[in-house]
Amino acid sequence: MSTETGIIVPEAASPQRIESPEAKAQRISTSSLVTIVGAILLWMAFTVDGSGTIALSDAFDEVQLPSIEIPGTLTVAICALLTLAAGIALFTGRLPRWGRTVAGLVAGAAVLFGFLAWVAASSTLPFTLTSQLNLTLAYATPLFFGVLGGVLAERAGVVNIAIEGMFLTSAFTASLTFSLTQSFIAGLFAAALAGVLMAGVLAFFTLRFLVDHVIIGVVINVLATGLTGFIYQQLVAKDMATFSNVRPMLPVAVPGLDQIPFIGPILFNQRPLTYIAFFSIILVWFLIFRTRWGLRVRSVGEQPHAADTVGINVISTKTSAVLLGGVFAGLGGAYFTIGSVGAFQDNNPTAGNGFIALAAVIMGRWHPVLGALTALFFGFLRALAQTTKPMQLPIPSDFIEMLPYLATIIAVAGLVGRVRAPAADGAHFVKSH
């Protein structure tokens, strides 16, 4: 046989690129937004006078580092100008792809640092960077787990809006189990099991009964609230000594490493679940991108029918990914009780973290590491609201608490560019004829 029959076969496509009207609209809105933020920052630069103090260690650290004095107006203004420059560069549309990435990173870093400088300069108290970063990890830990639960399910094509419900159920289960057994291992195991059970409901209803993924996700969240709330009132609240007796996990210092100045107290003096989270991120990345199972999970999330025709069991592959995601979401749930603060309280202890984790999944483009970085960013913003509370800033802390949500809206509305979900995310798989 031969393909050399003198016939013109189109060579692999390398068509010329052009900016579509949609892309143009997006470029304009993105660059305008960056420019506006830069302008606001520039205005903020002139609301402060004097210098700000950024402390690199807090009073309890063994190695005391000097605090940094920064000139308020100057620093903020430089950051603002950098942001403005990035915005204008983006606006021209002349940047190559890498140039856009650089401009985006510059703008992001400048806004972040400029805002921190403004915070420090606006208050007489120092801004303690170590505790800010330490707190960032504390807030990000459950998000890490949530991201993994979301990434695993969605890579397999199952939309997971039920992370919140998984968190809540496993937070409750962990607390109850620990109260009865006084064992962290048992508590974590029970939490993972609860996560798997809720993930099982998600898998069962979406894959077996073809219920809309988002609807069943919301229903699972409502169910988790009803179930934990009712059992708490009916059982736990009537005998707190038995059912609500939790001594939470404490931070564990990694001997030696925690002595490293600055980094040590941030990275190596964390709660056990934080370490487990870091390990889990690497594990999930490996599973998804380096194993046979991962290739199959991605294939059923993209084109289940194609996977079916090569003999892959689509439903069981999807189920395995959703259930494994449940394990991680369960561990994340445990963090809200035994992992950090103690016994389960009937006052919405997970506070919407499951939804934030889902936003991190999307902004992280369904990639475990990028998702984790986004989670870290959300953790940073939440920590910022806490760190700045005692600093008496000119803006109310309620508004700083809004930042993660605003950032999410801005991000999903196109600042990070259109993101592409797994092609069959949310689709039902029915064998066709």
């Binding site: 046989m1 031969s2 393909t3 050399e4 029959t5 016939i7 013109i8 076969v9 189109p10 692999a12 496509a13 068509p15 010329q16 690129r17 052009i18 900016e19 579509s20 009207p21 949609e22 892309a23 380096r290 194993t291 046979r292 991962g294 290739l295 199959r296 991605r298 294939s299 993209e302 084109q303 029918h305 194609a306 996977a307 079916d308 025709t309 090569v310 003999g311 892959i312 069991n313 092609a423 064998k431 004829h433």
Partner: protein, 518 residues
């Protein structure tokens, strides 16, 4: 080659296969023998049940009755793994490839090599190169499938089927996305695979292709085998067997009497969603009373051109005028008001709301005409539906029936009936008869010609050369977003084929002349 001697392999036979989907019997007691060393054509109309049968053979579906035998042994095929183990491979009509995976990843999916628990993509790449060299089907193992043109994607699909050395190869409607020359090439590939001693099952509804390669022909109609035919059987006879009555393969139409220019497309450029140039500085004029057909291989910008004319995509530059009115940046509502009738290429996606009733679908783009004092006139909508169902011979039990419950041909009639119930300046129809049975094709073509004779400008976008030849007054060949040339309808297929691959008209003519002189 693993298959050393022709005739050594046993015959694969399907015996009395019956498959039902709810009340629908897709396959009714079908018996077919697939013999190594022969090309067996399964000929039948859209919806005749050919693909269902092959999906059963490939283990994707389970038959309700009947058995599959390999020589003397009975096979139980409940998933594709078992089919592949039995030496069956399939080239699917809709490529079963993961667009975001590389060629190598696609090739090994389902039986991935691993090393120490990790995916071994190195050996996957090696395997692609081996296969590609052995069958002289050139592909780059590291290319992303979504970046490849459809012709190359099909190579990947064929190599995938050959990867586990299949003896019995099923080709399900493989020619739909190819140029005539690529089709010839594919025929050669099939023949050489046959000569190696493999059995080829070739599913198609194109008579010309059957006559070109078939050793055995089985004709299927409405889920039943209606007979076998000899390879020499004429196209007319085959068509009669396939449809169940004699059919005219040509549309009866008089010569066009073109009037004034109605649609004027001037230097139009449209970007695809990914930012590639889809329509490239294209100019074209369509007069009232003529049918211009845009021929070309799928994916050369036809979709974007149609969407830009309608207004669901916005052009980057250039203008579109309809009867003197500038509709370049018009949203669909305004284009429709300006007299555009639009039949989309994918009717399930764009043509109708499947859950809505026939009556609602028939007024979907003209709701204002059925609204009085802000309230819809349900009675008028029903009366309109009854009249249209009668006029367009839509086979339905009632106008309240949902469009999803109609056959493909009747769904397309609903779409065309809706568009033709308004006075039009331009009828723009993409793939107007795709997936439609022969009876409906005749009817739809007749109505399109009728619309032309009323003085409407008609622009048809089609990848089916049969359709282009029978409808067109002028053929515009499109390649990579440009019109390669505009030629009369009696232009030979070979010339059209070369033009569809981007060769300008004169060069194509010259090439063909040389070829005939040799």
């Amino acid at each position: 080659m693993s298959i050393t001697e022709v005739g050594q392999q046993p015959t694969l036979s399907l015996r009395g296969i019956t498959k039902r989907f709810g009340p629908l019997t897709a396959n009714d007691d079908i018996t077919v023998d697939i013999v190594p060393g022969r090309i067996h054509c399964l000929l039948g109309e859209n919806g005749a049940g050919k693909s269902t049968l092959m999906n059963i053979l490939f283990g994707l579906l389970e038959a309700d009755e009947g058995e599959i035998r390999l020589g003397e042994t009975s096979l139980k095929l409940t998933n594709p793994k078992q089919a592949m183990a039995a030496g069956i491979g399939m080239v699917h009509q809709h490529f079963m490839l993961i667009p975001v995976f590389t060629v190598a990843e696609n090739m090994v999916l389902g039986h991935e090599p691993t090393r120490a628990g990790m995916l071994d993509l190195q050996s996957a790449r090696r395997k692609v190169r081996e296969l590609s060299a052995r069958y002289k089907l050139d592909v780059d193992p590291d290319a992303l499938v979504e970046d490849l043109p459809v012709g190359i994607q099909q190579r990947v699909e064929i190599l995938k089927a050959l990867a586990n050395d299949a003896t019995y190869l099923i080709f399900d409607e493989p020619t739909a996305v190819l140029t005539p020359q690529e089709i010839d090439e594919l025929m050669l590939v099939m023949q050489s695979l046959r000569d190696e001693g493999r059995a080829i099952v070739f599913i198609t509804h194109k008579l010309r292709e059957v006559r070109a390669v078939a050793d055995d022909i089985t004709v299927i109609r409405r889920g039943k085998v209606v007979g076998q035919a000899e390879p020499g059987t004429s196209e007319g006879e085959l068509a009669t067997m396939m449809v169940g009555r004699s059919v005219s393969l040509k549309v009866g139409k008089t010569a066009a009497d073109p009037g004034s220019e109605r649609l004027v497309i001037d230097h139009l450029t449209v970007a695809s969603e990914s930012g590639a140039v889809a329509v490239d500085d294209l100019s074209l004029t369509v007069r009232g009373g003529e049918i211009v057909c845009i021929a070309g291989v799928q994916g050369n910008g036809q979709t974007e051109l149609a969407e830009a004319l309608l207004g669901t995509m916005t052009p980057v530059s250039g203008t579109v005028n309809l009867d003197g009115a500038d509709i370049t940046n018009a949203r669909p509502a305004r284009s429709i008001k300006a007299g555009l009738g639009y039949v989309p290429e994918d009717r399930h996606r764009d043509g109708f709301i499947g859950e809505f009733s026939i009556a609602e679908n028939l007024v979907l783009d003209n709701l204002d005409g059925f609204t009085k004092f802000g309230s819809l006139q349900l009675k008028a909508i029903a009366e309109n539906a009854i009249a249209r169902i009668e006029e367009f011979d839509i086979r339905a039990t009632s106008h309240t029936q949902s469009v999803n419950s109609l056959s493909g041909g009747n769904q397309q009639k609903v779409v065309l009936a809706r568009e033709l119930s308004r006075p039009l300046a331009l009828l723009l129809a993409s793939q107007p008869t795709r997936g439609v049975d022969v009876g409906a094709i005749e009817f739809l073509h007749k109505r399109i010609v009728g619309e032309r004779d009323r003085g409407t400008a008609v622009l048809i976008i089609s990848t089916e050369l049969e359709e282009v030849e029978s409808l067109a007054d002028r053929i515009a060949v499109m390649y990579r977003g440009r019109i390669v040339g505009i030629v009369p309808p009696d232009t030979s297929r070979d010339v059209l084929g070369l033009m569809m691959a981007g060769v300008p008209h004169e060069d194509a003519l010259a090439t063909m002349k040389e070829a005939t002189h040799e």
